[in-house]
């Protein structure tokens, strides 16, 4: 098969099989008697009615806010503390067991704790997201600093580059590939914690919406919410990927060179 034919076959497969799957799911949703499933058109309708834009402000926005706030705090704290730990071997050794433990604890186990300490509502969501998501970032930052190339270090020292200059122009760019990898992990965690913290600890938000929908057997609503989460997850990952690619222009290309 020539290369050109092959490309057409692949495109055809992609579109064709996907269309088949969609059709299959659609038909099943219409015919099925189960109470778990709602017809696809209904889901689409509910999706449009609620999230665009009736309940956008009351549910989607708070979720986005919690997510963004928690994640940003996690980044700042993670990078800040990570830099500190990276500089001091003593501090690293002191904190390794604690950090390993906190990082291995399933995030959700801390949710009741957060409720005890902070009560339900937005601050609790932001806290748990920030707290759990800072560990991958922190660990990656520390690793990045520790693994800084010795020749790079020697160069910086020989030219007397210190302080803020060194941090801003050398250290942060040098460790950015690793830090961004850590942030990538944290983003998925953040989404997970957002949804769960809203399900059990908030009176609004997408997670709460889905949960309520299920409780009241508004199945189409429930599926609409699930679809929305999928869309959000996709958008967040894509956006992050784009930012990462832009920031690491020099790095990826360097590897390709």
């Amino acid at each position: 098969m020539s290369a050109r034919t092959r490309r057409w076959v692949l495109v055809g497969l992609e579109i064709g099989v996907t269309a088949l799957i969609i059709a299959g799911v659609w038909l099943y949703s219409e015919r099925a008697v189960s109470y778990v499933v709602a017809p696809v058109p209904d889901i689409a309708a509910r999706f449009r009615e609620t999230f665009l834009f009736a309940q956008f402000g009351s549910d989607v926005l708070p979720s986005l806010l919690r997510f963004a706030l928690g994640f940003v705090i996690a980044c700042i704290v993670g990078v800040g503390v990570g830099l500190l730990l990276g500089r001091s071997l003593v501090l690293r050794l002191l904190t390794t067991p604690i950090v390993s433990f906190l990082r291995s604890t399933p995030a959700v186990a801390l949710l009741p704790l957060a409720i005890v300490l902070i009560g339900i509502g937005t601050p609790m969501s932001v806290f748990i997201i920030a707290f759990v998501c800072c560990w991958p970032i922190l660990l990656n930052t520390t690793d990045g600093v520790v693994e800084l190339d010795p020749t790079l270090r020697a160069t910086v020292e020989s030219y007397g580059i210190t302080g803020l200059d060194r941090l801003r122009l050398v250290i942060l760019p040098a460790i950015s590939p690793r830090v961004l990898a850590g942030m990538r992990t944290s983003i998925s965690l953040a989404l997970l914690l957002l949804v769960v913290s809203e399900m059990i600890g908030n009176s609004n938000g997408i997670g709460n919406f889905i949960f309520q929908a299920q409780q009241t057997f508004a199945i189409a609503d429930m599926w609409a919410g699930i679809v929305l989460l999928g869309v959000l997850g996709y958008l967040v990952n894509t956006a992050f990927g784009a930012v990462e690619r832009r920031l690491l222009r020099w790095h990826v290309s360097e590897r390709r060179a």
Binding site: T151, A154, T155, L169, A174, E254
Partner: protein, 267 residues
Amino acid sequence: MLEVQGLSKTYGSGATATRAIDHIEFDVSESEFVSVVGPSGCGKTTLLKCMAGLLEPTSGRTMLLGHQVTRSPPEMAVVFQDYSRSLFPWLTVRRNVALPLRRKPEIADRERLVAETLAAVGLAGFEEHYPWQLSGGMQQRVAIARALAYQPKVLLMDEPFASVDAQTRGELEDLVLSVRRRFGVTCVLVTHDIDEAVYMSDRVVVLTSPPSRVLETVAIDLPRPRNQVTTREHPSFGHLRGHVYQLIKGRAGRSPAPGPEEEFATT
């Protein structure tokens, strides 16, 4: 200009202690070009790092213009062997060269300085490139430009041409010689390449195996400006080269033909 006084460096302690260099002494005069050679593993890089203030010697000291070197002095610039890890890949060529100048606010018109240095190393027009877009030789030129823009009195180079191919090496050797001629920088070159050491230097300091001391300092009175073809064909070149080689191989003092006068180590 530069005085190395009794420099010693021991790594580790107790049973696993390794004496890399032991009581090294030599001087470098202003605008002089001195190479440091020796058998493999003889602590040449250790010596250079101590001289540059990057490594703390176990004893002894380096004096620069009458003052002791403790941290990296602004009068010294270092060119490392591994340019790919010494240049900052996230900065353009221009920014790489300009970055160390932040330490020297007294230098006016940095933009022009950067442009002229890059032109001096033959990289005019590549200012906005990133290091990974350049060949190895070009990257090392950027490192040299960066060192030059820093306006040091002393240029220290740690096997700077070991990672490039032979032809590029010749070009870079001549480049260093020409910028030295032009800006009067004092140069100390650490290398394992005897030909290179003889070709470029006024004097060659030969080290022993570890614990390394100065075995002998060989004066190179080949005519300047040096030329890759004519200098290497000069009758003295072979003698000098052979003498250094024999020193390193441990059979000093048995040169088969009369050679130029050799200066003995001043310890």
